[in-house]
């Protein structure tokens, strides 16, 4: 009994969490070195400037203790997964370079795993780098703009194009992308195609994919993609293997749903950027055991966070839904809002997905459900088709996660979603939902620095949500 109490008191404590984080990261690095060889590792270190150990920003160091031990531990295991993904991808690329396939973040990797390929999510690093080193991300943005690409497109594809121009990504054998989520993202793949001169497959998601005709067309697109890959890599899609991958994803999703159940109640066990980081496992490693393990770990920690710590933050006063991607250049925003206003993000666009399980009865059912997952994935659905695609998930989340406000991250480079801001205000006003729209840039601090973001949030929290000035 005493031992159990002792163990409970040190589990998730800061020294244990930090020790675990660095221990696991060191293990992943060691595996890369031993498996791919020291020469490959040194070559990577020489070629890729992003392969570095980031330092912790002072503001994060100051704000992190406000989170409960469980919440902090969940943040750490989510970050561990991102480190694991990058190093594991490099390890496999060094061993099987002929199987490397780049894929867009809207196209999840289950089918590629079942084909035995080495999928590499092209946007993974452009998503992660601004979180840990905004100066580096801004340098890539400058490279893209100085190469003549428009300054007014989304800074995520600009970061990607800058990385490609700077030879900061392992060159692909082929690329699979789509016509979602936006014109800027779609256009960036033309530049990639030109740079590497490799075959590129573009999944064509119809404007309206909610009816049977649209879905049938998209299933046809998925079949066309499989034929393209089979031909190019001289492999055949093994449907038994695909079934195993889909079942693994289903297991992963059952843990996710349990996490979401905990998120519905107040106090929430975790939230903010930790939700986003952890759920990236679907885009990065959908259908892999590592993704399932992550969700299982997060669930276990979330339960401890509620039972032992009494929630993720002390004195939870506001529960918010974040719409649009979070500010990658300033993840500390979430911690600041938690500390300053007791406001925790309980769900967001990138985390939420309403296609739950894959029916593994037959190849047809699997392909159908995978097509639905792609079409209705985060951002894929929300930036395409009729306006209901953008709003329905949002209001479902607002009600079912018991939120009391919506925070719309109005990314300056996102023309699709900024076009909806007027309608957004109108609908929220009619429904009497407090709506905070703040301007920011996804991957670039220069157009809107952190102080500017905080000022907008403070104005809203103090004047609309009744927080103390």
């Amino acid at each position: 009994m005493i031992m159990a109490l002792f163990l409970d008191s040190i589990t998730d404590s800061m020294p244990v969490t930090v020790g675990k984080f660095f221990g696991i990261a060191a293990f992943d690095i060691a595996r890369l070195i031993f498996s791919a060889g020291p020469r490959a590792f040194l070559d990577y270190r020489k070629r890729y400037e992003w392969l570095e150990i980031p330092s912790m920003p002072p503001e994060l160091r100051e704000l992190l203790p406000n989170r409960s031990p469980g919440y902090t531990a969940a943040t750490a295991v989510s970050l561990n997964y991102l480190v694991y993904y990058a190093l594991e991808a490099l390890r496999r690329i060094a061993i099987e370079p002929e199987k490397l396939l780049w894929h867009e973040d809207i196209v999840p990797p289950e089918i590629f795993h079942a084909m035995g390929l080495v999928p590499f999510l092209v946007e993974a690093l452009p998503i992660v780098i601004p979180n840990v080193n905004n100066v580096m991300a801004e340098r890539y943005i400058d490279v893209a703009e100085n190469s003549g690409y428009p300054a007014d497109i989304c800074s995520l594809p600009k970061t990607l194009m800058g990385m490609v121009e700077s030879n900061q990504l392992p060159p692909p054998k082929a690329v699979v992308t789509s016509n979602s989520p936006c014109d800027g993202g779609m256009a960036s793949y033309l530049m990639i195609e030109k740079k590497y001169n490799v075959p590129v497959f573009r999944l064509d998601l119809p404007y309206n994919f909610n009816d049977q005709r649209g879905l049938d067309y998209y299933i046809g697109e998925v079949r066309r993609m499989i034929a393209f890959l089979e031909d190019l890599y001289s492999v055949e899609l093994d449907y038994d293997r695909l079934r195993e991958v889909c079942e693994e994803r289903n297991r992963c999703f059952s843990y996710t749903l349990d996490i979401w159940d905990l998120m519905r109640d107040s106090p929430a066990p975790l939230g903010g950027e930790t939700l986003v980081y952890s759920h990236l496992c679907y885009q990065l490693g959908g259908g892999t055991h590592a993704a399932t393990k992550l969700m299982k770990q997060i669930l276990r920690i979330a339960r401890r966070s509620v039972e032992r710590d009494g929630g993720g933050i002390p004195n939870e006063r506001h529960r918010l839904i974040l719409w649009n991607p979070p500010p990658l250049v300033y993840p500390e925003l979430f911690l600041w809002m938690e500390k300053e206003y007791g406001a925790i993000t309980v769900m967001d666009m990138i985390t939420f997905r309403h296609q739950y399980f894959i029916d593994t009865k037959s190849p047809e059912t699997m392909l159908r459900d995978l097509a639905v997952i792609m079409a209705h994935g985060p951002m894929a659905q929300h930036t395409r088709g009729p306006y209901e695609n953008f709003f329905d998930d949002l209001f479902f989340m607002y009600e079912s996660f018991n939120a009391d406000m919506i925070m719309m991250a109005a990314h300056l480079g996102c023309k699709n979603t900024r076009a909806l801001l007027g309608m957004f205000r109108e609908i929220c006003r009619k429904r009497s939902i407090p709506l905070l729209i703040f301007d920011y840039d996804l991957s670039d601090r220069r157009p809107m620095p952190p102080e500017g973001i905080k000022k907008q949030v403070a104005n809203f929290m103090e004047n609309v949500m009744g927080e103390k000035k």
Binding site: G148, Y149, P150, M161, D183, M186, A187, M191, K194, K415
Partner: protein, 133 residues
């Protein structure tokens, strides 16, 4: 009658196609490929529109470069609409390709309004001076 119209080089007539109630093409402007009488009007129209070089698809580049040589062009102005992401990225790839092939190329960004006419004129004048004209 039905009118299919789009924006090309500042003129909606660039892609205007008039169909009758049966879907037959009654008139069309500046479609780069001929209307094929063997297929339906809609199919023929779809093929023609898909083949237009209104965005600088890689497949179109050789065609445009060839046409420029054929007309003995001294320089090429690649103009794009401000805030158009697809044109914006495509155009730079296209300009790079033209310069690789030995053409003098001006990348020009414009808006729908006439407010920027002075700047556009200055840039084109500078380009022409560079060409020695």
């Amino acid at each position: 009658m039905k009118l299919f119209a789009g924006c090309d080089v500042g003129s909606t007539t660039g892609k205007a196609v008039v169909l009758n109630e049966a879907g037959d093409i009654m008139a069309h402007y500046i479609l780069p490929s001929a209307i094929d009488p063997e297929v339906t009007a809609i199919e023929s129209l779809s093929r023609a529109l898909a083949g237009m070089a209104s965005d600088y698809k890689i497949a179109d580049m050789a065609r445009v470069v060839g046409a420029s040589r054929g007309f003995a062009a001294d320089g090429i102005v690649v103009q794009t609409m401000k805030f158009c992401d697809t044109w914006g990225v495509d155009a730079q790839i296209f300009v790079d390709k033209l310069r690789e092939d030995g053409f003098e190329a001006l990348r020009l960004e414009r808006e729908y309004t006439r407010g920027g006419i002075g700047q556009l004129r200055t840039r084109v004048q500078a380009f022409l001076e560079m060409l020695g004209k």
